[in-house]
Symmetry: C2
Subunit: 196 residues, 2 copies
């Protein structure tokens, strides 16, 4: 039976972007099954009393340097998003709709949204920009965005966020292998060891 | 000419203990010259507006798990210090005295203090415990501790801490290769790359 890797993320998190690009290789090497749990990072931080790194100016400055090193190591395209911290709540809700209706479409949408935010400097909080990204990923943006208004979809994002908090998460990306929690792209080697 | 690795640390920091144990190998592989800069982590956090991880309870809980994983990977002895966050100011000042008078003795003292705090659960803020650790490391504790009261030694620790803050540090361990800064034992591979 393949082991399960639970993945809590938010498009607003550049370290989630870094981690996301490593997952295909990790899944291929381990045979693990990925369970994606979009969550609202801002909500998680509020619930846990955590603050974004840039709340401490020196941490914010170092993050820029640190991100550049990871991007270089991973050989990824990257541009810091000028709208950071952008509003990702609708993008996350749309992702939950896709996850429910069309898991393959969800994968395409997740990649497209991470790329839009962390390569193409798109503001995911801008409705027409978000619609363009969803359409370009080959999904039905009007349909997805209409469903984002459903109370059940809103509640699902809230539930993912609250579950992450209840299980000990305080940031993104956060991974679980059973009840073992791992925070950050820089712990993916520990994740991989746990999956073997 | 060998490149220089500057190393800002405090015995109170378990991640400094983890990093410290990796330095002999890194120095052997790179031929770099280590410059040790004891600093007061609490002072650095005050200056930069940073807070200890455990200020966020979920972060504090995760730190315990994370430390256990690193200890396992590095194959190090480890016990969380029951006096954490212990007062390390005198231990740091004594280290600065040793660094000035007897660089080899300093290396022995640094190892002994990290081991005392993070393996043997010693309270470095307790004067008689500190004296025992210094004596056991083969240094003259009475002499070192007497010099800790000198304004020049106190000023040196303050200057190291202020310089770390001025150069962008916000935690420990922090490494510099020229003006490139690296935070944490988990960035030592980036440090090593910068030294090559």
């Amino acid at each position: 039976m393949p082991r399960t890797l639970e993945y809590f993320f938010d498009y607003v998190s550049p370290y989630s972007y870094l981690a996301d690009a490593q997952l295909p290789g990790l899944l291929a090497r381990t045979g693990a099954e990925l369970v994606c749990r979009p969550m609202l990072l801002g909500g998680l931080m509020s619930e846990t009393g955590n603050s974004p790194p840039a709340t401490v100016p020196a941490k914010g400055r170092y993050m820029t340097t640190d991100l550049a090193r990871w991007v270089d190591r991973y050989e990824l395209p990257f541009a810091f998003n000028p709208h950071f911290p952008a509003k990702t709540i609708t993008a996350l809700r749309a992702s939950l709709v896709a996850l429910e209706e069309d898991p393959e479409g969800f994968v395409a949408l997740k990649r497209a949204l991470f790329r839009a935010v962390w390569v193409d400097k798109v503001d995911p909080g801008d409705p027409s920009s978000l619609k363009s990204v969803i359409d370009a990923a080959g999904l039905d943006a009007d349909h997805l965005l209409a469903r984002c208004a459903e109370p059940e979809i809103k509640a699902r994002l809230k539930a993912n966020t609250e579950e992450a908090a209840a299980r000990g998460a305080f940031g993104a990306p956060t991974f679980f292998v059973g009840d073992q929690m791992f925070f950050g792209n820089d712990r993916l080697d520990f994740v991989e060891a746990a999956l073997r």
